[in-house]
């Protein structure tokens, strides 16, 4: 049984203990990111880069699909993870203007595990694999870029041509897209 009621004031602080106590400690969110980074298994198509290697909560993520409609492109994302991770999902944005049904002009991404289906048991690997999947199988039923989604639904071949044009820095339906070819 605990003797919590023993309220005697401590006369002397253990100096060694207080010397270390003011130093900041690794947070639970950092620790979880550290574990997630160790558990990544991304293959050769996905890479991370850290503008500030001491800050593992903010980094860039690159996908270079080796098959599918978006093959030959190099797609850049920005990951921002806050101290509420993994209670909250990472914030992920595409930093380029892409012609993609599930990514809007601002770089917002419609991926279930980034919003409604995020669970703390999921990890960064799941998010990254999910992002790659969007390039292998763009999904017309969850549109963020409505025009691109319609295009994919109605005329798959035409959509493919428009994707190639957009990836080359061309103009599709009046909008110019970023050149993202390797």
């Amino acid at each position: 049984m605990l003797k919590i009621w023993s309220m005697k004031q401590k006369q002397q602080q253990d100096e060694a203990a207080t010397a270390g106590s003011k130093k900041k400690k690794v947070t639970a969110a950092q620790l979880r990111v550290q574990k997630d980074l160790a558990d990544l298994s991304l293959g050769s198509t996905m890479k991370l880069s850290f503008p500030n290697p001491d800050d593992i909560m903010n980094f860039n993520f690159t996908i270079e699909p080796d098959e599918g409609i978006y093959k030959g492109g190099k797609f850049l994302f920005d990951f921002k993870i806050n101290q509420n991770f993994p209670h909250e999902p990472p914030k992920v944005k595409c930093t380029q203007t892409l012609y993609h049904p599930n990514i809007d002009i601002e770089g917002n991404v419609c991926l279930n595990v980034l919003r409604e289906d995020w669970k703390p048991v999921l990890n960064l690997n799941a998010v990254m694999v999910g992002l790659q999947f969007l390039f292998l199988e763009p999904n017309a039923s969850d549109p963020l870029n409505k025009e691109a989604a319609e295009d994919l639904k109605i005329n798959r071949e035409g959509f493919k041509r428009n994707v190639r044009a957009a990836m080359g820095g061309g103009t599709v339906k009046g909008r110019t897209y970023d050149r993202v070819l390797k």
Binding site: K3, I4, A16, T18, A28, L31, L37, Q83, N108, N112
Partner: protein, 437 residues
């Protein structure tokens, strides 16, 4: 109402213990459930009046908690809150009046309770819990939280866990956490490092319900969808350079107008200014009586713990530590023991002092750890709070941190600083406070 309260005689104006008659009935008698070491009588009365208790949060729960603690005989109460009073708080945060709008909650609440309950001292701090260090938290006997933020709960929990020193019984600070959301709530007691902690219980918090982004972008069905669209998509498109301030009425008005227009396009009714405010600020309807129930339960536990076993309390090691309350579907409470997670990132493995030769390189240090039978690391990654010391993966970070392997420990880490080591081969983590020799 305010006038009636303030003109009535303050509790404690009688110069005796007569006002605590009923409290003393509990403190001066034993019952069938009292602990055999219960300091019945003077001892219990003294430990209660000398207990220094910290209340975190002076909002809906905090007002209730402060009032309850003061009326239960606690005399030395501290309160922290960073917020100021908003007019929308006044329906339930009963220590505040209209004239107090804009003032700091902790200040106003402390003054009100001090005035109302004679003999109680309430020390407010208007700011963030993160402003305070371990020395500050060390002065309290126990801590009662009435917070609405998971981040703040995780922070205070991690702080209290890391303060624990097994050679000093005063370093054990019981944490009592109350929380409400509408008709639901919970009260739980955490004995840092002994019983399951907030981080162990993180999955007890339901994540915020989110709507798929594509629903917002293409087929909104509810007025809330239109507001979220204005919040997440329209603002980014049209006002990217302005940081959204959810307390700025011009910003909320802009979002409201956008949402309203979008709702009209899709024939959706119901978008209002206050709904916009609610969705954007993620306001959860607070129900005063749920706060009262949860605060009462939290304060009863605080009372039992501070008086030293007058009755069994929530959180006794090996017993129940979590009480959930649900009032929206009939009425239901369930009390259970949430078990400690052995691989909890906060309480699973405490920082241990480790003596190392400061002339060791990081590589030599890691090799040395790998040989220790307790760790047996294969691919360790290591960091301090501010520095990535060495990461095995991903490849780019390995390359960036590799030069550190050849640096001496005293170039990388300060004396006494905490390092955390993880390894895919082990489920938890190792934390060490390095002491140089």
């Amino acid at each position: 109402m305010a006038e009636v309260l303030e003109s009535s005689q303050p509790i404690g104006s009688m110069d005796s213990r007569a006002k605590w008659k009923y409290l003393d009935n509990i403190l001066t008698r034993t019952g069938p459930f009292t602990d055999e070491d219960f300091p019945c009588g003077e001892g219990a009365i003294e430990s209660l009046s000398r207990a220094k208790v910290l209340v975190i949060g002076a909002g809906g729960l905090g007002c209730e908690i402060l009032k309850n603690l003061a009326l239960s005989g606690f005399q030395d109460i501290h309160v922290i809150d960073m917020d100021t009073i908003d007019v929308s708080n006044l329906n339930r945060q009963f220590l505040f009046r209209h004239a107090d709008v804009g003032k700091y909650k902790a200040d106003v609440a402390a003054k009100f309770v001090e005035k109302r309950v004679k003999g109680v001292k309430i020390t407010p701090y208007c700011g963030k819990i993160q402003d305070k260090d371990e020395e500050y938290y060390m002065q309290f006997s126990l801590i009662v939280c009435g917070l609405d933020s998971i981040e703040a709960r995780r922070w205070i929990n991690a702080t209290l866990v890391s303060m624990f020193d097994d050679t000093d019984s005063d370093s054990l600070k019981p944490l009592i956490d109350g929380g409400t959301e509408g008709f639901k709530g919970q009260a739980r007691v955490i004995l840092p490092t002994i019983t399951s902690c907030i981080e162990c219980q993180l999955d007890m918090h339901a994540p915020r319900a989110a709507v798929p982004l594509c629903t917002l972008a293409t087929i909104p069905r509810q007025p809330q969808h239109c507001i979220e669209w204005a919040h997440i998509i329209a603002w980014e498109e049209e006002r990217k350079d302005i940081t959204l301030d959810t307390d700025d009425s011009e910003h909320i008005t802009w979002l409201f107008q956008k949402a309203l227009k979008r709702a009209q396009e899709f024939n959706i009714a119901g978008v209002t200014y206050s709904m916009t405010q609610g969705v954007v600020k993620n306001i959860i309807p607070a129900i005063a009586s749920t706060n009262a129930i949860i605060a009462a339960s939290s304060c009863n536990e605080a009372f039992k713990i501070a008086t030293g076993g007058s009755n069994p309390f929530l959180g006794t090691p090996g017993a129940d530590n979590y009480m959930m309350y649900t009032g929206d579907d009939s009425i239901y409470t369930y009390t259970f023991e949430h078990e400690k997670k052995p691989d909890c990132p906060v309480c699973g493995n405490l920082a241990r002092p480790l003596k190392v030769d400061q002339r060791f390189t990081l590589e030599e240090f890691l090799d040395g750890l790998a040989e220790r039978p307790e760790s047996q690391l294969k691919k360790p990654s290591i960091r301090t709070e501010g520095k990535s010391l060495y990461y095995q993966s991903p490849p780019s970070l390995e390359e960036q941190t590799r030069p550190n392997l050849f640096k001496k420990l005293n170039e990388l880490v300060e004396e006494g600083e905490e390092v955390v080591i993880t390894d895919p081969a082990i489920p938890g983590q190792f934390k060490y406070k390095l002491r140089f020799s």
